[in-house]
Each structure stands twice: as C-alpha cells, then as structure tokens.
Symmetry: C2
Subunit: 149 residues, 2 copies
DNA sequence: CACAACTTAGTTGTGCGCAATCAAGTTGTG
DNA sequence: CACAACTTGATTGCGCACAACTAAGTTGTG
C-alpha cells in the first residue's frame, strides 16, 4: 500500500493540466479574434441564445457573478456585447446580455476555431464525445456531493 | 450540418467545467490545511521528490515561472517550504525548494484528502484510471501540436 | 580573456475564478 | 401599507495562469 499519491497518478491533476492545455491550444486562434477562452464561451452561449440574463449566463457557464460581471464589462468595452437593464420583463434587477453586430459577426470564425481545435486534439470524434460524456458525468456526480465536509 | 457548436456539446467546455468542479471539491478540505489546490500540487511534488529546482517544479506541474515563483513565495511565507539558492550544485542561478517540517508533516493529511476526493468523485477506481489515461493522452497529443497557427 | 548566447528565477500587467459583501429591487406575510 | 426575506447583479480582495520582460549567472567560441 503506497499511501503517498504520485502526482502523475492523480486523475484530478490530469484534468487540471488537460484543461489548461486545451485553453492554450485555443489561445493563439482566439487572440486573432480579440477574445479569451472564457469570453469565447460567453459568445458561444449567446450565439445559441441571445439576450440571456447575467444569472442565466452564470448558470450556463457555471461561473458566479464575481467572474461574469467583469467578464461582461470587458466584452462590452470590446464592443461584442451590450447590457440592458430591465429588458421587457419589468424587473429592474435583471440585466440581459445581447450580441452587438460585431459580436454576432464573429460566429462563423468562432465556429471555425472549434473545428480546428477538435481536429488538433488528436482524438477521433467518437473519442471526444465519449470523453465529454465521461467528464459531464464526473462533474454532475461531484456537484451532487458538494455538501460534503 | 449544424455549424453553430453548442456549449454543452463541446468536450473542451466539459473539461474546463470538470476541472473547476474537482478543485471546488478539494477546496473545503484544503482550506483546513491552509492550502490552495496549486499549492497542494507543489507539496505533492515535493513529498515525492524533495529539493526540486524551481524549473523542475514548473516542468512537473506544467506551470511557468510567472506562476510558480509567487506560488512558492506564498508557500514559504506560510512556512511549508524553504528556498535555497545554489544548493550544492555550485550554480548560483538554481534555487531548490525544500519541505520544512510543517510541510512534510502535512503529507499524511494530504494523502487522506486525495482518498476522500477519489471516493466523492462517484466513479470507480478503474473508471478514474481510464479517465486519467485518456486525459494524459489528450494533453500529450495537444502539446505535440502546439506549434500550429 | 572577451563577449555573445543561453539559462534560471523573478517581476509586471492583464484576465480569470471564487468567497464575501453590498446595494437595489421584488415578493410574501400580516 | 409595512417590512422582513429573498433575488439580482456588482464590487472587493486574493490567488492563480500566462505573456513579456528583466537581472543575474553560466557556457561556448574565438
């Protein structure tokens, strides 16, 4: 029984490293669009459903307001999105996030990026799908156990 | 052909989310040891091989000096590690990192944490090993393609 | 020896990520 | 209506990550 866990044997470390590696793979391509990876995720969410509230965006990306608010501030400053308070709902607390023309225009180039990254991953489509499903299962499983101490 | 990639379908997003979720699972336990996850990784590397240089630590954790240097500064301030310049090698550029007594003493409690997290992941040992290997393969594959533009 | 090229750590600046806190707005209950 | 509980988004503070740069030390070449 080797009680000392080796770094290389830890699935969590592999996860941590892999995550940073993919983002690093995206980086040079996203740089050309003037985006960071989290900013790109926001746009992907909006390309799918424009006009999400800040909370809905946070739920989608699994990020809290302390991350999303400044993220949107930068995206707004860059001219990719626009925030509107009390948009139609009559609830003045709600802020909806909308793509600008520039933000919407990035969609096709953005999709290209995901294609290229998928190809550069060195894995087949089937493998990627299997990995994604395994990871999603993993995350769900963790979230349900989050109350642990 | 749906050209617009959905966030939920992206393996990269699943990776990004899963990574943060595991670290979140570690957080409350590591808080009790006074450590963050990256700091815990440094200690794991040192429990395995004490006296690594800053560069060797960076290679092990796949982090550059801009991340490792301040990380070690905080770990040193917390009394878990100690840095020594030109340690024996006669090369005054090299800084080796050594566990203090307090740092070494955390090992058994640290190992416990990895056990608990492994259990709380909701996956079998075999599944975790398979996932880890898939992720390692993924990362390696990406690193070899990093010269892409 | 001279000196350019390189290696090693560290610093600076920007952008996440998250806990904690806050202010403004809304809702439920009496 | 009054007012406590809640929701929504923003702010603050700290610790990563990483690019770009710097300073100090080492090595290879003539």
């Amino acid at each position: 029984m080797d009680k000392t866990p080796r770094l290389r044997e830890q699935a969590c470390f592999a996860l941590y490293t892999a995550s940073r590696a993919v983002i690093g793979l995206y980086r040079p391509m996203l740089d050309k669009l003037g985006l960071t990876y989290p900013q790109f995720l926001v746009l992907m969410a909006l390309w799918e459903t424009d006009g999400l509230t800040v909370t809905a965006l946070g739920d989608t990306l699994q990020l809290d307001s302390g991350t999303v608010s400044p993220l949107l501030k930068r995206l707004e400053a860059a001219g990719f999105v626009e925030r509107r308070r009390g948009d139609g709902s009559g609830d003045e607390r709600r802020v909806t996030v909308h793509l600008t023309e520039a933000g919407a225009a990035l969609e096709s180039r953005g999709c290209e990026v995901t294609q290229v990254v998928g190809g550069a991953s060195g894995m087949s489509y089937e493998d990627l799908v299997a990995l994604r499903d395994k990871l999603t299962e993993f995350t769900e499983s963790i979230r349900t156990r989050e109350t642990n101490d």
